[in-house]
Symmetry: D2
Subunit: 406 residues, 4 copies
């Protein structure tokens, strides 16, 4: 079968309808509230936009068909999520934002029948939101380094008791339930020994302590600090196998990483479009700004960065759809994408001069939405470390095969 | 006389006292209000901090001695302003912020006796603030391109009548008086033909239309749009000669550009210090973060960027103190500095991970304070254009001297 | 049909056989002669390697089947050419180097029956080499700016007389025939008015004046200055239509640009592999070099750059195979690729320390092979200009459709 | 005493005479031999140029006055060495190249009376050249990591016996004597325990095994591999104290690092000048190349990089002249300078298009001269590591003083 990089007419049509929906139903709200989703209504807005998205036939296109989704694979998801990302409220509107999208993805792969009914169903249909509680505050605690996991789950009769503190738990405030990563074996500093648990938000012992005031403003429920104090989880709410939490996290993280890229690609493309519109007919320095070489360089560099991010994203999605682990291609697409999007936003600001750093244009706040992505889901440095380790490992194995012991 | 790059003991002492004042009197206020100077009290805060700075003997160290200042030259100003810049409220506290600092500098050079009494005195002592009305909104209007100046001054009996609109007029809201740049000869698109006028803020016809909501929050009076509608200015309030406005603007801009670098250097150094403090003892990945190679690379790149900015700044200040025009060295120090400071802030954020993009650390807001500097006072692109023009011009002249017509 | 980014088993097999051939038959020769193809035997070496490649069934995989090639489309060519590019002598060995490969491609699309017999056949089978004479020396003359074309063809009885000078004509010395671009209409400075002509190298009036001593050493026949002095070309050797030369040049340039990327991608991947092999087991600073964070950063950045170049290349090849003009995707893949490959070579050198800048490793000469690619086939700046013009043009049209006249 | 960044009239005059000498006596030779100093005559050329430099009164301006030098301090040396660096043969012509310049500097500080007569005198007057044998080949051996020192000196009656292998020993072939770093205490992997020895090149047991073929071609005597096989050195030829070798190496390295920057700054400035001359009057794309925005950006970026390197160099020289260790400022000036000079050379090549990568212009070979500097004298990565360690160490100490144990 020959190489084929085109989307089916059905996907193209879905993309077109998504773009239209975003432009007409979502962007005006986002702009009116300067991109602050809580100010714009929070969960009330979410429910309103979800209903409209359902009516438009574009709601949760990644969700399993049995829950009313379109069951799109990663490749097909990509242009749709990107179209939705043109508004920072778009992911919430289509119910494809973090962490719900990744949680739906993981639950669809791992959840038991009971868990599908209790958690996945309400989540996939948008009845509730969810949170994924993995990251922990320093000094001890798993930030970017998962070996530091210090929240513990102790086996008790009929279930487990979980205690610990988590930080940067996106969407925690107002979530219907949590997926909690806790240590069930080993010590802080050990690799492995983690298990995933499901728990309704109203479970005794779970408390949202505060919102960490982060520069992005489009994720409902904020980025919270959450305390788990002797939280009881029955055995039936253990997600997957005990001690296999990091393996599942990887199942979740590869695709979730790519859907981050999809959505933020949409935001970066929008920033670029705003800047190109600004320079295309604006006068200055004896001509149009768009005719100045240094402006053209910024426009071209944006185009190159965006094209490369798209191409890397398509590669990673294809590999994931083939059932591959795709650790390399997703790390590469994530790292390149996050850095490229920040460059694109920065150049877009620069092209627009004083207005670029003002609220008259959405560029500064798009830059604020994009900047954290170089840290979220693994800082660029951690991904580079992993990419290098694997590259060196491959070279070492190849050398052994060749009998080369240089 | 041998090369000497050291400051006198008097300056070193002033720097030390300034740093102490900032740490004890200014930083706590800034942090309490997340760097938003209006929220922190605006002009009330300014007067309070000015009084404290006067008590500490560090107020307006650049102002002429006759007005109570210390009359420091550019070289000596540099480390003091940098020390003050460690807090984003520091420049207001010492009365060395834009645009007042540059206006004091220019008035001290150009103002008539009458104008010194009426405008410079109250400004130098901090009795009033001032604004410098040059930049104009597009489409017509002088943004980064001064040839586009479209605000006009028409000669009338006993003075001039000024009409036009200005944008990004820093400190306009609450200013005691304006320095207004208006066209007195030629057409929009012509170089030259500009004159500077002085006008009390309460002059009929001057109105502040709105604050442009810009990402920096530490300049009192904001960045405003101002309308001048038939504003009458008597002949005695023409600043300098008619039609010589751009020449004076250059007098103002070279030094003002460098004091920008001084202050923002202070902010960038602070961001770096916050990040180094973060990584120095934090555990992760089997050691201290500060022992990781990629972190060390960021620390070192910050050190290099800051050292280069300091060195270029010292060069430019020295040339200005020698009475040179210093167009090249100030453009270079400004362009390099602004870009370096943004890199430093960005790396500092990255080193601190999730906290870096949160309000738990001051890094994200320092980045917001620094980012506009790549646009204010001439975008990097305009400075590069000017630097290149001069370099090519020098080469062309040298070739002519050599009789080389390649 | 779903997205498919995998090559067929036949192509995978061809790639594997190509890699094996390169490793066993070509690399040892290249290394023995430090990558200098003339020193290694020039055309004698070429004929010897071509015979071996034919025997291995991998000769000219892009050539039409009727001439013994494999008729691969752009997508399938890509991994094969890349495998061949692992040696700088590989493209000559497989007869897929510039300019022959692009000339075969263009002649297969445009040549008349007569021209196919006289020129394409001998070229496709490797009997002769060819040259493409477009670029001209300054001051007048078409370097990167095709409007400057000053070589002229004058209509005479039964044909045309061509006069002019060309520079950087790759492979001219020893070529069997030339494709010559000459002006048949308009003046220097005009766009268009160019025609392509075919002429045997022994035609009266054609002389190779000198080799320009360029830093790459792997292209047979060098980069020459050639004079055309009243060169007669009969009408039957006009290639395509009169005055349509630039249109054909575009037909040639898009694919030729991509085959450059394919080959040089192979060289860049090799440089990276050499460096990774160097650092993987070398001791230093208390461990393996490959465990140092700053080394890992270089390894990872190489991986990212190479992956992005591959992904952009695949995108561009796919579009070309769909019959699209692919101006944007080929410009982007070329510009990104050329710059990325230089970065990869530079990092690879840096990873190997002193040996990296020595002839003990092939890195410095690979860097010399790669550096010109940022200039050949259109400097990065010209591509960026074209990319920006198209992006702004699209935005302008979209605005007109929306009725937005900002 | 006020800040003073100007050179004395005497130094300015020396700079002018040096520039004139280089332009008239040195550059023509360099260009005739494409920058290959061995092809140009090697030591014969050196003696000829040295005689001319003596006649011009500019020979060895850094050497002690008692040996006929001018005894310039680091600050004053700087512009003179930079002027000499405008030709890659300039340092040899003035006898200010590596390693002689650094060896003169170190011997003047450390050598005993006997050693001054026997070694320093002949070296300072240019009668002989010298070599500095520190770097060793991997796997064991001190490359960039001095702890790996494996050449050993064993105490014997009346002196020491040295055995080991060295690599990248600049100027070894033809040197009159060596300064040899050998281990006198501890094991490979230990810090310290090194001693410096002086030995005439004709000492039994010293052999130059081969020239490492490195891309720079302007250093006489090449970069050699040298074997020391039971080389006897009498006690009187131990340089300084036993086991203090690394301390002396630091004495040598700080200044030597800066004189590298001085010389290569000269080369980088020349590359920039060649490129600016190229673009200033060349036509293309409807105007002069120098009027194109992307060209202007490259010109300006070169100007900025060069200005920053000069400013950092001046700072480091000043500190060295004050008797400071200046580890930070020399590491920063070296790291920034080496990288900046490579960027400058690369942009200069790019500005000149096809000619830039040809031998028609000296740019490609200047790039080859400059590239190794990012590795020689400590790779950038090692300097960054050291810069970061010190920065973090300072922060740690400051925190302890504040009682802050975060």
């Amino acid at each position: 079968m020959p190489i084929d990089l085109s989307y089916s007419p059905e996907v193209d049509d879905l993309v077109a309808r998504t773009s239209e929906f975003i432009a007409e139903q979502v962007l005006p709200v986002e702009n009116r509230f300067d991109g602050d989703i809580e100010a714009a209504g929070g969960d009330d807005l979410r429910r309103e936009l979800n209903a409209k998205a359902k009516a438009a036939g574009i709601f949760a296109p990644h969700a399993p068909v049995e829950y009313g989704g379109l069951g799109l694979n990663m490749s097909d998801r990509s242009p749709v999520f990107t179209a939705a990302g043109a508004s920072t409220f778009g992911p919430v509107a289509l119910h494809i934002g973090a962490p719900d999208e990744g949680n739906i993805h993981m639950l669809a792969h791992i959840a038991s029948e009971h868990q599908r009914d209790k958690y996945l169903g309400p989540l996939a249909t948008g009845e509730v939101r969810s949170a994924f509680a993995m990251t922990e505050p320093a000094p001890a605690g798993a930030g970017a380094d998962p070996n530091q996991l210090s929240t513990t789950a102790t086996k008790v009769d009929g279930g487990w008791t979980i205690s610990g503190r988590k930080r940067f738990i996106t969407g925690a405030d107002g979530a219907g339930f949590y997926i909690i990563m806790a240590r069930t074996a080993g010590q802080v500093g050990d690799r492995g020994g983690a298990t995933m648990f499901l728990a309704p938000a109203e479970t005794s012992g779970i408390s949202v302590d505060r919102h960490v005031n982060v520069i992005d403003k489009s994720m409902i429920g904020g980025h919270c600090e959450v305390t788990f104090a002797d939280v009881f989880v029955p055995d039936e709410d253990v997600l997957g196998e005990v001690d296999e939490g990091y393996r599942y996290a990887q199942v979740r993280l590869g695709p979730a990483r790519m859907t981050h890229v999809m959505r933020w690609l949409g935001s970066a493309q929008r920033a670029h479009a705003v800047a190109v519109d600004y320079v295309r007919d604006r006068d200055g320095f004896g001509g149009k700004l768009a005719d100045l070489g240094m402006i053209q360089q910024m426009v071209a560099d944006n185009e190159i960065d965006l094209a490369a991010a798209r191409a890397l994203l398509q590669r990673a999605c294809y590999e994931l759809d083939q059932g591959e682990h795709a650790s390399d291609s997703t790390s590469i697409a994530k790292t390149f994408g996050a850095e490229a999007f920040c460059r694109v936003a920065d150049r877009s600001i620069q092209m627009c001069g004083g207005l670029g750093v003002s609220a008259d244009l959405p560029l500064a706040r798009l830059a604020d939405e994009l900047r954290p992505f170089r840290i979220y889901d693994g800082p660029s440095e951690v991904h580079r470390w992993a990419i290098a380790k694997r590259a060196v490992g491959r070279a070492r194995k190849a050398a052994q095969r060749r009998g080369d012991h240089a």
